[in-house]
């Protein structure tokens, strides 16, 4: 019982501790870096599963760091959403670590590998921290750790373009961070507390204050940048394109954590009735998201670089999540949160496949993918399945989230949002089916001798592709935790 009681902090501490051990291990025993990362992440995955089960059985858990009671001490609140995010994050990062074993030998020099794993673990720990913290300033700290490790991961290869992309990301991210800090400062001045639950109680009398409203605006803009919500997505395509393929997989999680922070801000710090009815913040977000979905899809259609195409597709799909939140009903929130795992799994699979293709062929240009369907059948099979899921073809998981978000928009009396979602799946079809067509039916320009990717890369790919189907048929699986999550968030 004692261990279980400390589980919230253990989940975060496992990857963080491993991150601090990593440079040491990397210095002495380079070979063991990957194993350490895999073991740490596997442990944290198991811990997250246990945590999720505990939360499902006993309801949300509160953990007071070092025993200081809130609102003075830092509080960790593992609610349904937090537990869910921990499972998603640790699962995907575990697969990233597995995948990286072979993959980064080609992408990174030997000295950089320990750094890569250190950053990976740091990122994981901070993402989980950001998802389950109950303290606003702690949220900011976690965001800083995860942003800084993302900047470094983007430019880890040390090549000119990667450095430039990382720098761009850093600049824009720093602006976002200052927005966040300013917003948090405003809220702190107004309420005198940093604990979210405390703030939730103290804020309603202050709703007419300009300071509080400014804080909301600042935080929303800051988080929108972190979430890459169009038109604040400009850092994302470069960052995704120039980083090794495992980084975008992590980054899809990073932008999801941004979306979770938006959920926290809207429903855990402010009252749902305030952001839905008094100032229609959710409605505004949903319209921005609707525009984002269409524009990002159009951008994706015009790309020839596979990673860039997938990057724009990510911008589009994170907007699905925001749209779901923006609908502002229980069903919409459920659908939006459902898309967090569905998109993480599917886009993870697509980026892994892209990584495997680049690993084998060295090209990122879609037009040169001719004939890959025959040479890398497993990879391309998984790619096809995941692409169909992105398009939203049943019975894949992408269809389920699409259905839920569209249904939510429809029942909330917002048919235009439902139509945008459906239209977007057509646009998605255009750019994904082009890739599939080329790989299966295109004729290679020159015959190159390549075979299937190594098993350590194939296992994560196959696992995620299988998840696309499992989460499609077994959509109840994530929903068992997401339904109470939405109810708790909306206070119904």
């Amino acid at each position: 019982m004692n261990v279980l009681f400390h589980l919230p902090i253990i989940v975060i501490l496992i990857p963080l501790t491993a991150a601090y051990l990593m440079p040491l291990v990397g210095h002495k025993w380079k070979k063991w870096c990957n194993s350490l990362a895999v073991v740490a992440l596997a442990l944290s995955f198991v811990a997250s599963l246990v945590l999720a089960r505990l939360v499902l059985v006993n309801g949300p858990m509160h953990y007071y760091m070092a025993g200081f009671m809130p609102p003075w001490g830092i509080e960790l609140v593992v609610d349904y959403l937090g537990a869910y995010m921990c499972v998603v994050i640790s699962f995907i990062t575990l697969l990233v670590a597995l995948y990286s074993k072979e993959y980064i030998t080609k992408e990174l020099s030997e000295q950089r590998r320990p750094q890569y794993y250190t950053l990976l673990l740091l990122l994981t720990g901070s993402m989980m921290g950001a998802s389950i913290t109950g303290d606003l300033f702690n949220l900011f700290v976690c965001f800083e750790i995860l942003s800084i490790s993302s900047y470094a991961l983007v430019s880890i290869s040390g090549e000119g373009k990667a450095l430039l992309a990382g720098y761009k990301y850093l600049l824009i991210g720093a602006i976002a961070s200052s927005f966040l800090l300013l917003g948090i400062g405003h809220l702190y001045i107004s309420t005198g507390t940093l604990n979210m639950a405390d703030m939730f109680v103290r804020l309603p009398p202050l709703y007419s204050s300009w300071t509080v409203l400014a804080a909301l605006a600042l935080l929303i803009v800051g988080l929108s940048i972190k979430t890459a919500l169009f038109p604040l997505h400009v850092w994302l395509p470069d960052a995704y394109t120039n980083a090794p393929c495992s980084v975008p997989v992590l980054s899809t999680l990073v932008i999801k954590v941004g979306a979770v922070a938006i959920i926290r801000l809207l429903f855990n710090i402010f009252q749902p009735s305030f952001v839905i009815n008094t100032i229609p913040m959710t409605a505004a977000l949903s319209y921005i998201a609707a525009i984002a979905i269409i524009v990002a899809s159009l951008f994706a259609i015009s790309q020839t670089d596979i990673k860039r195409m997938l990057a724009y597709s990510s911008v589009c799909h994170v907007a699905y999540v925001i749209l779901g939140i923006g609908v502002g009903t229980e069903l919409g929130l459920t659908g939006g949160m459902l898309h967090i795992i569905n998109h993480a799994v599917t886009k993870g699979c697509l980026f892994f496949c892209a990584g495997a293709i680049i690993y084998k062929t060295g090209t990122r240009n879609i037009r040169e993918f001719g004939g890959l369907g025959r040479k890398m059948p497993v990879t391309m099979g998984a790619f096809t399945l995941a692409a169909l899921s992105m398009v939203g073809i049943p019975p894949t998981n992408g269809f389920m989230s699409k259905f839920y978000i569209a249904l939510a928009a429809m029942t909330a009396g917002r048919p235009e949002c439902a139509i945008v979602i459906l239209l977007s799946s057509l646009l998605n079809a255009i750019y994904f089916i082009r890739v599939i067509n080329i790989t299966y039916f295109g004729i290679p320009e020159e015959e190159i001798e390549i075979d299937e990717a190594p098993p350590t890369m194939l296992y994560p790919i196959v696992m995620l592709a299988a998840c696309c189907l499992i989460l499609g048929f077994g959509v109840e699986l994530p929903l068992t935790i997401l339904r109470p999550a939405a109810q708790v968030l909306l206070g119904v």
């Binding site: 073809i393 839920y404 249904l407 429809m410 799946s425 067509n437 039916f441």
Partner: protein, 497 residues
């Protein structure tokens, strides 16, 4: 009658999916073995479907329910009379088409045959899934599976023309499925269920305006697969695919899935009474009539035999829709039996066109001089079914036309009788040239005599042609499509036959 819980519906679907897997594993190294999988799966699937026939024929149902996907809607299968009608037809035609495919693909030494057989098996599995779906959600899952699985078949030739046809196909059908999805979402938000019911589920929900808009969404969605004009554009383009694929498209599965879905929506989501109340039948019947006439005129102008047949399908499919839209028992019976009648006749016609192509390499009607003399058996079957299409007794097409005319009069809309008769004339007009060319023109010099194809190709042709005579001669024998269609109509309209 109490429904029977059984695994058989799931088994019927699983068997073709397993078959697809086995085909993929076997590959082209052991091609005889691969074809053995196709044939054995086709036969065993047919046996499974047939085993459910007697109970369903007497008004019973088989149910196989699994888990809930969304609250109130599960991934469930149910075999009622209408499911049985469609699945019986397509599983039978799968056997025939498999035999034909083997003959056709081998004669022409086609490439990527493994992919071909694999996709075909998935298509048939999805079709049976569509037939057995207990609710719109399950139907939609299989419907989309069918759309995707048909794509590799349409672009089989991999020529630029085929790729363009494939692109057109996907844009039309994926676009259309969005309408279905939207309709499904609206239906679910109105009623909280999607399960088909004999009396419809929408009655008493929503305003008439909402329901009318919803109906338009469904008609566009399913109508694209059913090739209602002007949503038919993909079907003629898709005839670049090998002939057995055309058979799949036009007879076994694809367009029929669209019609099937539309009928499910009309009778099992809306229900006859609500359809009458909202007055939705007449506009649909008019749209169908326009399609019947215009598509026949288009068919007249085609020289490519398969293209002419494709437009003929567009026209004939609207017979079914017209019958269903008239909302009277006789018309509905006529519409539903035409699913089977058109399938048998059109598959024969396509098989003949394919056989001509295999034996002589000719695609255009104007080149087919005297082939009736060199390929007598093939062309006799062609002539029989062409006449059947035009509604000449004693072929199956006549039965359809009889019931449809009866239904139009029952509905008090004699104008549709005129439509049907005009269409019969046009049918004769566009089927006459190929028959005339075949039998009354002299073959070119040097043409081979006794050029009938191998029995792999000929047997399916003869079998289907005989079936279309049989269905016209003794339509009311027990266990025929007409009897089954009567059971369906009895269930949805309370029975007047």
């Amino acid at each position: 009658m109490e429904p029977v819980y059984s695994i058989r519906p799931a088994l019927a679907i699983a068997i073709s999916l397993t078959c697809a897997g086995l085909i993929g594993l076997t590959g082209k190294r052991h091609r005889n073995f691969r074809e053995f999988w196709t044939l054995s799966a086709a036969v065993s699937k047919y046996i499974i479907v047939i085993s459910m026939f007697p109970l369903v024929y007497h008004g019973g149902e088989y149910i196989f329910s699994t888990f809930e996907i969304i609250p109130g809607v599960g991934f469930d299968l149910r075999v009622d009379a209408f499911s049985m009608f469609f699945s019986f037809l397509s599983s039978f035609l799968w056997i025939v088409t498999s035999v034909y495919s083997i003959g056709y693909m081998r004669s022409l030494h086609e490439h990527s045959q493994t992919r071909y057989y694999l996709s075909f098996a998935v298509c048939v599995a999805s079709t049976i899934g569509i037939a057995f779906a207990d609710n719109l959600f399950t139907l939609f899952i299989f419907y989309e599976m069918l759309t995707i699985a048909t794509y590799p078949l349409i672009i089989h030739e991999e020529t630029p023309e085929a790729m363009a046809a494939g692109r057109k196909y996907l844009i039309y059908l994926l676009g259309a499925s969005l309408f279905i999805l939207l309709g499904m979402v609206i239906t679910y938000s109105l009623t909280g269920t999607l399960t088909f019911s004999n009396s419809g589920i929408l009655a008493g929900h929503g305003t008439p305006e909402t329901l009318k808009t919803l109906f338009v969404l469904f008609v566009i969605g399913f109508g694209t697969k059913a090739a209602i004009m002007p949503l038919h554009g993909w079907l003629p383009s898709a005839m670049v695919a090998p002939t057995p694929v055309s058979a799949l498209l036009h007879a076994v599965a694809v367009v029929k899935a669209g019609v099937f879905g539309l009928i499910r929506v009309i009778y099992f989501i809306y229900g006859t009474d609500l359809m009458r109340e909202l007055g939705l039948g007449l506009p649909l019947a008019i749209a169908a009539s326009i399609t019947i006439i215009v598509a026949s005129l288009f068919a007249l102008a085609q020289d490519n035999l398969k293209l002419r047949l494709a437009y003929s399908t567009v026209s004939q499919l609207s017979y079914i829709i017209l019958g269903v839209a008239l909302l009277t028992p006789s018309a509905a019976t006529g519409g539903i039996i035409h699913i089977a009648n058109q399938a048998f006749m059109k598959i024969t016609l396509f098989f003949c066109a394919g056989a001509i192509f295999v034996q002589t390499g000719k695609k255009n009607i104007s080149e087919m001089h005297g082939i009736g003399k060199t390929m007598p058996l093939t062309m006799i079957c062609f002539a029989i079914c062409a006449m059947g299409m035009a509604g000449v007794p004693p072929m199956a097409g006549f039965i359809t036309k009889w019931y449809l005319c009866l239904g139009a009069l029952e509905a008090g809309q004699p104008i549709f009788v005129a439509v049907l008769l005009t269409s019969a004339l046009l049918n004769i007009a566009y089927f006459f040239p190929p028959i005339y060319n075949a039998f009354f023109m002299e073959p070119e010099k040097g043409a081979k005599k006794d050029n009938d194809p191998t029995w792999w190709l000929l047997l399916p042709i003869v079998l289907c042609a005989l079936a279309s005579i049989f269905l016209g001669l003794i339509p009311r024998a027990p266990f025929t499509p007409l009897r089954l269609a009567s059971v369906v109509v009895e269930q949805i309209m309370g029975g007047l036959l």
